[in-house]
Symmetry: none
Subunit: 414 residues, 2 copies
């Protein structure tokens, strides 16, 4: 099966946004053995879209189109696909109801313009959208297929993975099974060297590293006739990788670092409180992403001013005067202070210079001290991060969580 | 003049990399008034590239192709463009010398495979590449033009800006100027209805709405002979839109909601403290994105447990017993409590049920109360949000910031 990816949107043609959807789709289609020979971007324009569809079907049997499913008259992808196949749009009851429910839940009336999102060709497979109002669809005629998906990645990606991939599997006879290992605390380059022999020696499964925003993932992909055979190919390779990378691997699949840390805390009934300066609530906010965290997360303090560090956390005035707010000593007193104030087993603190201003020769932008109070002891570490204010804060948050994870594992909390 | 962007590379088709080149080129071409109606990605394959060139020239006079100028036999973009125009490649002395110099500078001998990078059609305009070995070129035949550029953004972007744009200016006499308005608190559909007459009645400038992750943007784009004329076309349309949408417009261009709120607070020297339950530090973390926020942001509390709400914020036990932690009354006492504890002019609070568990008929998942203490008064609002735990928390945070923004504007803080 051959596919073409057609991304619809004037904002892409004008260069307002980067086409990350095409990359995602290309990768996931390749993973189920569907070849993509061509990708196209076209504006919200019926004539040009019809031409793109007809050009694409000269070389492929499947078009995956994203964008142009919104409520405005500009949004014409579904309508144009139906027109291309000569199919009429009729109301799809289930979609109508779920769009209505979406608005009711938000305390608003369903708007007229949103009604058009509930219309589909009679024989289309409608794909539900739990993350927005625009359902997607698979339109078919003879042996040609157009999949229309919403443009926003948060709506498109889960719809594609949960509905389109399972649907397309009937058209391919090999399965590609991937396992993703998530890695933190070791750069992509260094990791690639560490496991170079494993990466280079493998053809099935293949092993591919990807550098993400902050962490790194390794994808092990096996091609086989069924899932079990694929998993059996993956297992020994994964074991070899785990032996090399150890605790640098923090999780698998779509898990996140905060999820892993929160789970460790909840499973071991370790109550925790946070005291943040430069990360300004990011550590707390990320831990609290984990449902069920309320069992152990008692309190967080964003102590941005010196006064709040003293008043809330009991940091001593002498400490601030002598060593400054960004210092090992302050980080230590912050971690101890929040654990004591909140009555928790674990306390974690951050204090640093996120920039862009405020740096000196002694204490440059990117300098961050962190403290962890655990089992009656306090540990302090110094970090130097690179990048913008946002990057420094993000990296500090991730490193705080990762350090806590490693300390928990070292203490045999599992 | 109309252009098509053709990105060449198997790594794009496999989804290994994101096509940021296309976005860059689209934006820069639009800025000099060259319309891009189509973008294409094609593999390193002569036949498919020839087809892409011939398809493109059905609708445009200019192809900008990136990638495939490297030294390996896989790299065929320049060769294919020359073949398409029926032009022979001959050695270009200057390029030969500069490639040789590049290798000498790096202490290496010029490799045979790099020699092919010095070959161009006799009449091509060769574009020097100070950042790599592959020069680019403008190939012409009759009134058609193919610009070939290297794939690595670090080589492509300066080459495009320094050589291609000045070269293309002789062919265009218009500029495109865009202005983006950022909107929150009104859905895309509802907004589109509100300003339907403006959107539909306009051809120059055009007005286009885009739904972003949480907020909405409106782009006003004018075509004119120079920037000033374009701005004069935009102004009256912008005024009409502002009249209709009022305070729903929170900013322009690349600004963010937290940036706008933080700026208002700093400009008016309004000290602020946050008390968060369900948003768990997100409000603080986003405000703290703004450099300079330390002048006014004194303290944040993430009071997840009832005990911390009482101890840190002075929420009364009776209030929690009688109305619960998720209630108007608790939100009120939280906002007042944090402002009092931190000694700030403004206090803002959130308390709600982010889910997925914890909802009841009375208090369903997504129910969030917020409080704002300002000028000695406390306001409370109730919200119902949709979506996952993450979405509910994200929406709560954005709505808290937006509500604060509106309250500040209503009180004539500007």
């Amino acid at each position: 099966m051959r596919a073409e990816i057609i991304s619809v949107g004037t904002e892409l043609l004008l260069g307002d946004i980067v086409n990350t959807n095409a990359q995602f789709l290309a990768k996931e289609l390749a993973a189920v053995g569907i070849d993509v020979y061509h990708q196209t971007v076209v504006g919200d324009n019926e004539e040009r879209m019809l031409k793109a569809f007809s050009d694409a079907f000269e070389n492929c049997d499947l078009i995956v189109a994203t964008g142009g499913l919104g409520p405005t008259p500009d949004d014409l992808t579904k309508e144009t696909a139906a027109k291309f196949f000569g199919q009429e749009l009729v109301v799809h009851e289930e979609s109508w109801k779920s769009i209505e429910a979406y608005f009711n839940k938000n305390g608003r009336a369903m708007e007229g313009s949103n009604a058009k999102q509930a219309y589909f060709p009679k024989d289309a497979v409608v794909l539900p959208n739990p993350n927005g109002t625009a359902p997607g669809a698979v339109l078919k005629k003879d042996n040609k297929m157009i999949v229309v998906l919403p443009g926003p990645p948060k709506e498109m990606k889960p719809m594609f993975m949960n509905h389109v991939i399972p649907y397309l599997k009937q058209y391919t006879d090999t399965v590609l099974v991937s396992k993703v290992l998530r890695i933190f605390g070791i750069g992509e380059g260094f990791m690639a060297e560490e496991i170079a022999d494993i990466i280079n020696g493998q053809t099935n499964p293949t092993v591919a590293p990807y550098a993400k925003e902050i962490d790194v993932t390794l994808r092990i992909t096996a091609k086989a006739k069924d899932e079990e055979e694929a998993k059996n190919l993956i297992k020994p390779v994964e074991d070899k990788i785990r032996e090399k990378l150890g605790d640098n691997i923090y999780g698998e699949g779509e898990t996140t670092l905060e999820h892993v840390v929160a789970e460790l805390l909840v499973r071991n009934k370790l109550t925790i409180a946070t005291a943040e300066s430069c990360t300004g609530g990011l550590v707390a906010a990320n831990l609290i992403n984990y449902p069920g965290i309320s069992e152990v997360f008692l309190e967080g303090a964003v102590t941005y001013s010196n006064e709040s560090k003293m008043k809330r956390l009991g940091v001593k005035e002498e400490t601030l005067d002598k060593y400054g707010a960004v210092s090992e000593e302050t980080a230590r007193e912050m971690a101890e202070g929040i654990a004591k104030a909140a009555g928790t087993k674990v306390g974690i603190s951050t204090t640093g210079i996120a920039g862009p201003g405020g740096g000196t020769d002694d204490k440059p932008v990117g300098l961050v001290y962190m403290g962890i109070y655990i089992d009656g002891n306090t540990l302090v570490r110094k970090f130097n991060f690179q990048g913008s204010r946002e990057k420094v804060r993000q990296r500090a948050m991730m490193n705080a969580l990762d350090w806590l994870r490693r300390e928990l594992l070292n203490r045999n909390y599992v």
